[in-house]
C-alpha cells in the first residue's frame, strides 16, 4: 500500500470517528432520533453542519500530520500552490480584511462582505487553496495582525466557516459556475432558470424553513408584529430589486451564468449559516458586532431560544450576503484579463465565456 493511500485512509477514519463522536457528544442520535413534530428537526441536527466541518478539518489535519511524519514535508498539499496562487493569497486576505473591517464593523451594514478574496482564490486556484486561504485569513486576522489596528481577537473562531466558503467556491469554480454564458438559446435559458428555481426552492424548504417554526409571523397583521413586517418587507423589496436586476441580465444578455452564480451563492450562504450559527451562539452569545444583531434580538423577543434566533438571523443574512459576494467575485473575474486568470491552476476551467 503506497504511503499516500495510507494517509487518505487514516484521514477518512479520523473524520468519520470525529463526526460520530462529535454528534454523540452533542446529544444527537443519527438515524435513531425522533424529529420534533413542530419543526421537523432531529434534536442535535442544528450543530450537524458544524460538527461535519470540524470532522473534515480534523481529517485534513490527520492527513497533513501523517505526511509530515513520513516525509518531514507537506509536498502533496504544497504542490497545489504554485507561486501565483501563493502571491494571490495575501492580497485576497487583505481584500477580505479591509472590506470586512470597513463594511461589517465600521459601516454597520448588516452584511459581512469579508470573503470576496477567499472566493476569488477558490475560483481561480481550486478548493484546497480556497479553503486554506479562508482558514489562514481568519487566523492571520487574529494572530499575525494582533498588534496592528486591523487585528481582531474575535475572528479566529469563524476560521472554519471561512474555510468552507473557500472550499465551496473552489468546487463551484471547478464546475464552471463562474463562467459567463451569454446568448444562451431560449429553451436552454428557460430550462436552466427552471432548474435554478427548483434548487433554490429545495434549499429554502429543506434548509431554511425548518428553522422558522416559531411564535412569530412575517407579514402578520397584529401590531406587535410590526418589526417583523418591516424586516420582511425590507428583505422582500431587496430581493425583488435584486431579481429584477438579475432578470435584466438573464433576459437582455441571455446570460445563464447569473443563474449559476445565484444558486452557488445561496448554497454557500445556507451552509455558512448552519456552520456559523452554533459558533455565534456558544462563543459570542449570538452576536457578531454587525448590524444584523438586531435581528437576533428581534427573534429572541418573539420567543425563540438563543440558538434558534441565531439560526433564524443567519439563514436570512448569510444567503443574501454570500450571493452578493459571489456576484461581486463573478463580476471581478469577468473584468480580469483572460491572460491573467488562465495562469492560475483552475483559471481556465473557472473563468471565461461559454458561447452558445
Amino acid at each position: 500500500m503506497s504511503s499516500s493511500w495510507f494517509r487518505v485512509l487514516v484521514a477518512a477514519v479520523v473524520a468519520i470517528v470525529a463526526l460520530v463522536a462529535g454528534l454523540a457528544l452533542y446529544g444527537s442520535s443519527i438515524g435513531g432520533g425522533t424529529a420534533n413534530p413542530d419543526t421537523g428537526l432531529v434534536p442535535g441536527s442544528d450543530a450537524f453542519m458544524l460538527v461535519l466541518a470540524l470532522s473534515l478539518l480534523l481529517g485534513f489535519i490527520a492527513y497533513a500530520a501523517i505526511e509530515f511524519a513520513q516525509t518531514r514535508r507537506l509536498d502533496s498539499i504544497a504542490r497545489q500552490f504554485d507561486t501565483r496562487t501563493i502571491v494571490l493569497m495575501p492580497i485576497a486576505i487583505a481584500i477580505n480584511i479591509v472590506l470586512g473591517q470597513t463594511v461589517g464593523t465600521a459601516l454597520k451594514i448588516p452584511l459581512y462582505l469579508d470573503s470576496i478574496g477567499t472566493i476569488l482564490v477558490g475560483a481561480l486556484a481550486g478548493p484546497i487553496p480556497g479553503a486554506l486561504t479562508g482558514l489562514l485569513a481568519n487566523l492571520i486576522w487574529t494572530f499575525v495582525l494582533a498588534g496592528t489596528p486591523f487585528g481582531s481577537p474575535y475572528a479566529w473562531p469563524y476560521a472554519i466557516v471561512a474555510a468552507e466558503i473557500g472550499l465551496l467556491a473552489g468546487v463551484f469554480g471547478y464546475y464552471g459556475f463562474f463562467r459567463s454564458r451569454p446568448n444562451t438559446s431560449w429553451p436552454k435559458l428557460l430550462g436552466g432558470l427552471a432548474a435554478a428555481i427548483v434548487i433554490l426552492l429545495g434549499l429554502v424548504v429543506y434548509g431554511v424553513i425548518p428553522f422558522y417554526k416559531g411564535d412569530f409571523v412575517f407579514f402578520g397583521s397584529s401590531p406587535t408584529e410590526g418589526f417583523f413586517n418591516v424586516i420582511a418587507y425590507g428583505i422582500a423589496v431587496g430581493l425583488i430589486l435584486g431579481l429584477i436586476a438579475l432578470a435584466i441580465q438573464l433576459f437582455v444578455k441571455r446570460d445563464l451564468g447569473v443563474a449559476f452564480i445565484v444558486v452557488g451563492g445561496a448554497i454557500c450562504g445556507v451552509v455558512s449559516a448552519l456552520i456559523s450559527a452554533p459558533i455565534s451562539a456558544f462563543v459570542f452569545g449570538g452576536v457578531t458586532g454587525s448590524g444584523a444583531d438586531i435581528l437576533v434580538a428581534a427573534f429572541q423577543q418573539a420567543g425563540s431560544s438563543l440558538i434558534d434566533a441565531v439560526f433564524q438571523q443567519g439563514l436570512l443574512q448569510d444567503p443574501i450576503d454570500k450571493t452578493i459576494e459571489f456576484i461581486v467575485a463573478f463580476l471581478l473575474l469577468q473584468t480580469l484579463s483572460r491572460r491573467f486568470t488562465a495562469r492560475f491552476p483552475q483559471g481556465e476551467r473557472a473563468v471565461g465565456v461559454i458561447e452558445a
Binding site: 518531514r72 487574529t142 494582533a146 498588534g147 481577537p153 480580469l336 491573467f340
Partner: protein, 278 residues
C-alpha cells in the same frame, strides 16, 4: 532537474552570533519569550475561559495567565485600554441582545415592549467577561510580539516557507492596499466623484473605489510572482533563517503543561467531573 539535497551552505557559529547581536533588544523578559509560548498562553487562556464559563474561572485565568505577563512586560495600562476598546462595541451588542430579549422569570425593569430579565443580565455578563478575557489574552500577545516573529518562528518549526510568505506578506499588503485606496479616491474625486456628504453619496462612492482597488491589487500578482520566481522562491527544501528566535526547555515545558492542563480541563468538563463555577 533534481532538487539539491541538503543545504550546500550553512551559517557558521560566528555568523549566527553576529546576526543574533543585530536583533533588537527585547523590551522586557516577557517580550523575549518565544512567540509560540506567548501564542500558547493567549490561546489556552481564551479556550479555557470558554470551556469553563461562569465569572470566577475566566477572571482567575485572567489573573493567573495574563496579568502577570502584562505586568512583567510593563504594558498593563495600555493592554487594558486596548482590550476595553476592542471588546466594548461587541459587548454593547451582547448586552442589548441578551438583557432585553432573553426569556427569564425575574423581570428587573421594562422598556417599552422589552423586559430586562435577571437571567439575561447574568448571561450577558458571562459572555462579556469571556470576551474581555479573550481581548486581554490575545491583546497581550499582540502588544508583546513583533507581528513577523510568530510566522518566522513557525517557519523554523517546519511551516511551509510558502505559507509563511503568504502570512507575512499580508502584513505589508494591507497598508499598501489602504494607501492605494486613498490614491484612487483622490483620483476619482479629481474626476468629480462625490465621496462625502449624504449616506447615499457615500454608498454611491463605494463601487468606483472598491473596483479599481481590487483589480489593481490583483494585477500586481503577475509582477510579484515573477519577481519572486527569479529569486528562487520555488526552490524546494528548507531555508536558512537570518533571524532565529530563542527558545528553551523551560518554555517547551510550559507549553506542554498548558496543553495538558487544558485537555484535562476539557475532558473534566465534558465528562462532568468538574463542576460549573459561578
Amino acid at each position: 532537474m533534481a532538487p539539491p539535497s541538503g543545504n550546500p551552505t550553512t551559517l557558521s557559529e560566528a555568523d549566527r552570533a553576529y546576526l543574533a547581536s543585530l536583533a533588537p533588544q527585547a523590551a522586557s523578559p516577557y517580550h523575549a519569550l518565544n512567540p509560540l509560548t506567548k501564542a500558547a498562553i493567549a490561546t489556552i487562556a481564551t479556550l479555557a475561559a470558554f470551556v469553563l464559563g461562569g465569572y470566577v474561572a475566566p477572571l482567575a485565568i485572567l489573573t493567573v495567565l495574563v496579568i502577570p505577563g502584562a505586568v512583567a512586560a510593563g504594558v498593563l495600562t495600555r493592554l487594558t485600554r486596548v482590550a476595553v476598546l476592542i471588546s466594548v462595541p461587541i459587548s454593547i451588542s451582547v448586552a442589548l441582545v441578551s438583557v432585553f430579549t432573553r426569556a427569564g422569570a425575574t423581570v428587573l425593569f421594562t422598556v417599552g415592549p422589552f423586559d430586562a430579565t435577571a437571567e439575561g443580565v447574568d448571561f450577558a455578563g458571562q459572555i462579556i467577561v469571556r470576551l474581555f478575557v479573550t481581548a486581554m489574552a490575545l491583546g497581550l500577545f499582540g502588544l508583546t510580539t513583533e507581528p513577523r516573529a510568530f510566522v518566522v518562528d513557525l517557519e523554523r518549526r517546519g511551516l511551509s516557507p510558502r505559507v509563511a510568505f503568504a502570512a507575512a506578506a499580508t502584513l505589508e499588503t494591507i497598508p499598501l492596499m489602504v494607501e492605494r485606496a486613498l490614491a484612487i479616491q483622490a483620483a476619482q474625486r479629481a474626476r468629480g466623484l462625490d465621496t462625502e456628504g449624504s449616506l447615499a453619496a457615500r454608498i454611491g462612492g463605494v463601487m468606483p473605489l472598491v473596483g479599481p482597488v481590487i483589480l489593481s491589487s490583483l494585477t500586481e500578482v503577475e509582477e510579484r510572482s515573477l519577481a519572486l520566481e527569479v529569486r528562487a522562491f520555488g526552490r524546494p527544501g528548507r531555508r536558512d533563517q537570518l533571524w532565529t528566535l530563542a527558545d528553551d526547555g523551560r518554555q517547551r515545558l510550559l507549553r506542554w503543561a498548558l496543553l495538558v492542563g487544558f485537555i484535562l480541563v476539557l475532558v473534566g468538563r465534558v465528562a462532568g467531573a468538574l463542576p460549573a463555577l459561578p
